[in-house]
C-alpha cells in the first residue's frame, strides 16, 4: 500500500530524514517510533504530499507523491499533531466542509458525516463550536475528519499526545477498530502505545531508519531483561556501598549492578537482570538477610534510549547517548 524508497528531506543546514526505506502492506497498523525530532512528522508530511521529498520516492496505493499528488491525497486521511480545526466552526459544519474538500457531496456526504460522528463518539458535540471543545473531543473530531472520505490509508501524527489516560485508551481502541478498513501509520514516542495497537514498528532516530520490526520481536528485546531500582539503607549506622554492590552482584540472575547515588546511610542501585530472569524476590531477600533496610524496590521500564542502544548499540554508541531521554511508562 505504501512504499518508501530512499526518502530524504534536507533543509538548509540539517537533514531531517535520511534515506528511509520501508513498505507497509494493506490493512496493517504500523507504528512510527522515535524520540521528538527524529523525523517522524517530516516523513508523514512527505507521505501526505504536504512536503516534497528532497530525494527518493514514496508511493501510496501505487501513486507517486510528487507525480500524482491529487490521487494520493484522495486516498489519504491525515491527522496532524494538532488537529486542524477551525475554532469558529461547529463540529458538523466542519466535517461537512472537510467532506466537500475531499470530494463528497449531497446525501453521501450527510451519510458519512453521521457515520464518522457515530464512529468517533462525537455525536453529543455535533452542534458545538470546535473552539469550545476539550482536547479529547478535538482529537476525535480530528480523527473523524481524517476518515470522512473513507481513505485507504490513515496517517496519524501522535494521535494520543496530550490526552488523559482514559482518552488515550479510547483513542487507541478507536484506532484498533479502524484497522480493518484502513491501512494505518501512526507515529508516537510511547512504546506501550505501539505494543497495544500496532503490528509492525518502524523506528527512526535522527532521520535515520534504525529498525523495522514486528512488535513481538521488539517486545522480546525490550522485555527480555528486567531493570530494577533498589534503595538500601544501613540499619545501624553507616553503610558501605561497595559491600552492598558486591552482595547484590552475587544474587543469581543479576547481570549488572550500577550505583546511582550514595551517601553515608543509604545507596541507590540500578540492577539489570539476565534475559528471562526475574530477580526482584531474590534481591529483597538478599538485602534483608544481610541486615540492611530495603527502602525501595521497583521495576523501571526500559527507556526509548535504551531500546535504541540495544538496537543500534554496536553501530554508534556515543552518538546514541546524546538522544533525548524519553521515558516509556
Amino acid at each position: 500500500m505504501i512504499k518508501v524508497q530512499d526518502l530524504t528531506k534536507r533543509y538548509a543546514r540539517t537533514v531531517a530524514v535520511d534515506q528511509i526505506s520501508f513498505e507497509v502492506a494493506k490493512g496493517q497498523i504500523v507504528g512510527f517510533l522515535g524520540p521528538n525530532g527524529a523525523g517522524k512528522t517530516t516523513t508523514m508530511r512527505m507521505l501526505t504530499c504536504f512536503l516534497p521529498p528532497s530525494a527518493g520516492t514514496a508511493t501510496v496505493a501505487g501513486f507517486d507523491v510528487l507525480e500524482q499528488p491529487l490521487e494520493v491525497k484522495k486516498r489519504i486521511g491525515y491527522l496532524p499533531e494538532t488537529p486542524p480545526i477551525y475554532p469558529e466552526m461547529e463540529t458538523v459544519e466542519y466535517l461537512r466542509f472537510v467532506g466537500k474538500l475531499k470530494g463528497l457531496s449531497g446525501a453521501a456526504l450527510e451519510k458519512r458525516v453521521d457515520y464518522v460522528c457515530e464512529r468517533c463518539a462525537i455525536v453529543d458535540v455535533r452542534t458545538k463550536l470546535l473552539g469550545k471543545l476539550s482536547k479529547g473531543y478535538r482529537q476525535r473530531v480530528g480523527l473523524a475528519q481524517a476518515i470522512i472520505h473513507n481513505p485507504d490509508v490513515l496517517i496519524l501524527d501522535e494521535p494520543t499526545a496530550g490526552l488523559d489516560p482514559k482518552q488515550i485508551n479510547e483513542t487507541r481502541d478507536l484506532i484498533k477498530d479502524l484497522a480493518g478498513e484502513h491501512t494505518i501509520i501512526l507515529s508516537t514516542h510511547i512504546l506501550p502505545e505501539v505494543e497495544q495497537t500496532c503490528e509492525q514498528v518502524i523506528i527512526i532516530n535522527k532521520g535515520k531508519l534504525v529498525a523495522t520490526n514486528s512488535v513481538r520481536n521488539l517486545q522480546a528485546q525490550a522485555r527480555g531483561a528486567e531493570l530494577v531500582v533498589v534503595e538500601v539503607a544501613g540499619r545501624t549506622g553507616p553503610l558501605d556501598a561497595a559491600i552492598v554492590q558486591h552482595k547484590l552482584q552475587q544474587v543469581g540472575g543479576v547481570s549488572q549492578v550500577v550505583c546511582k547515588q550514595q551517601s553515608d546511610s543509604h545507596a541507590v542501585f540500578e540492577i539489570e537482570s539476565e534475559k528471562g530472569r526475574f530477580v526482584r524476590g531474590d534481591l529483597a531477600r538478599a538485602v534483608v538477610q544481610a541486615g540492611w533496610d530495603l527502602n525501595e524496590l521497583r521495576p523501571t521500564a526500559m527507556t526509548l534510549e535504551e531500546i535504541f542502544l540495544q538496537l543500534t548499540g554496536s553501530e554508534a554508541p556515543s552518538e546514541e547517548k546524546a538522544a533525548p531521554q524519553e521515558v516509556l511508562q
Binding site: C49, F50, L51, P80, P84, Y86, E88, M89, L101, K102
Partner: protein, 255 residues
C-alpha cells in the same frame, strides 16, 4: 472550481462568524455615511443659494455627489483591504489548518481563488452600504445609473487587485498583524505614488505615478470604462494571485 467555491463559502463563514465582518461593516458604514451626508448637504445648500441669487447653473447629481463619493470610497477602501486579507493565510499557517487544505485533494489555485473571492465578496458587502446611501439619491433625484454601475465595477476591480496583493502578503507570515501592516503599507504606497506625477514631469515620475491604484480609478468614477485602466487592474489581480501561487509553492519547499 467547485472546491474554490467550497473554500470561499468557508472563508465567508469565518468572516461572519467572528466580529470582524460586523466591525468592518459598521466602521465603513459610519465613515461613508458621514461623507455622503456632507456631499448631499453641500449639494442642497448650493441649490438653495442659486435659487436665492436667481441664477441657475446646471447641477448634476452624478458629477457633484456620486463621482466624488466613489473616489472617496476608492481611498477609504485602501484602509479596509488589509483588515480583510490579513488573516486569509496567516491564520491558517498559525493554527496549522493549512495542513488540512494542503493535504486535501484540492489544487493550490483553487484554495487561492476561493480565499480571494471570499475577500472580494466581503468587500462587496462594504460597498452595499454605499448602495444603500445612493438609493436615497434615486428616490429623491434622478441620477444616471449607468456611470454608477461603471463606478462600482471600477471599485471591485481596484479592490480585486489590492486584495490579491494582500492575499499574497498573508502567505508570507504566520502573524496577522505583520500581514496587515505590510498590506496597509503597500496600499498606501500604491496610492501616494500617484502624487509624484503632480510636481515631477520626468519619465520615471510618470512611470511611478502610473502605478497608482487610485488615479486609475478616476475614469471609472466619471463613469467611463477605459480599457487601459481595466487592464491595469486586471494585471494587478493576475500578478497578485500569481505571486500567491508561487508563495504557496515555496511554502512547501521551505517549511
Amino acid at each position: 472550481m467547485r472546491n474554490a467555491w467550497v473554500i470561499c463559502r468557508k472563508e465567508l463563514g469565518s468572516y461572519f462568524a467572528s466580529p470582524v465582518a460586523y466591525i468592518l461593516l459598521t466602521i465603513f458604514g459610519l465613515i461613508f455615511g458621514y461623507f455622503f451626508w456632507t456631499a448631499v448637504r453641500f449639494f442642497v445648500f448650493e441649490g438653495i443659494e442659486m435659487q436665492m441669487r436667481g441664477q441657475a447653473y446646471p447641477m448634476n447629481i452624478n458629477e457633484q455627489i456620486i463621482r466624488p463619493l466613489l473616489s472617496n470610497v476608492s481611498v477609504i477602501g485602501l484602509f479596509f483591504i488589509p483588515m480583510i486579507t490579513m488573516r486569509l493565510f496567516a491564520e491558517e499557517k498559525r493554527t496549522g489548518t493549512i495542513e488540512l487544505l494542503a493535504t486535501s485533494p484540492v489544487r493550490d489555485l483553487e484554495i487561492i481563488v476561493g480565499k480571494w473571492l471570499a475577500a472580494l465578496i466581503m468587500y462587496s458587502c462594504l460597498l452595499l452600504f454605499t448602495a444603500l446611501n445612493f438609493a436615497f439619491l434615486f428616490r429623491y433625484g434622478n441620477p444616471d445609473w449607468k456611470p454608477l454601475l461603471i463606478g462600482y465595477l471600477g471599485l471591485l476591480l481596484q479592490a480585486g487587485g489590492l486584495l490579491a496583493i494582500g492575499t499574497f502578503i498573508s502567505t508570507l507570515t504566520k502573524n496577522q498583524i505583520i500581514a496587515g501592516a505590510a498590506t496597509f503599507g503597500v496600499c498606501i504606497l500604491l496610492w501616494v505614488v500617484g502624487w509624484m506625477g503632480e510636481f515631477e514631469m520626468s519619465t520615471w515620475a510618470r512611470a511611478f505615478s502610473y502605478l497608482s491604484v487610485v488615479t486609475h480609478f478616476e475614469s471609472f468614477a466619471r463613469g467611463v470604462l477605459d480599457s487601459k485602466d481595466a487592464i491595469f487592474y486586471a494585471a494587478v489581480i493576475f500578478l497578485g494571485l500569481f505571486f500567491t501561487a508561487r508563495s504557496m509553492e515555496s511554502l512547501r519547499w521551505r517549511s
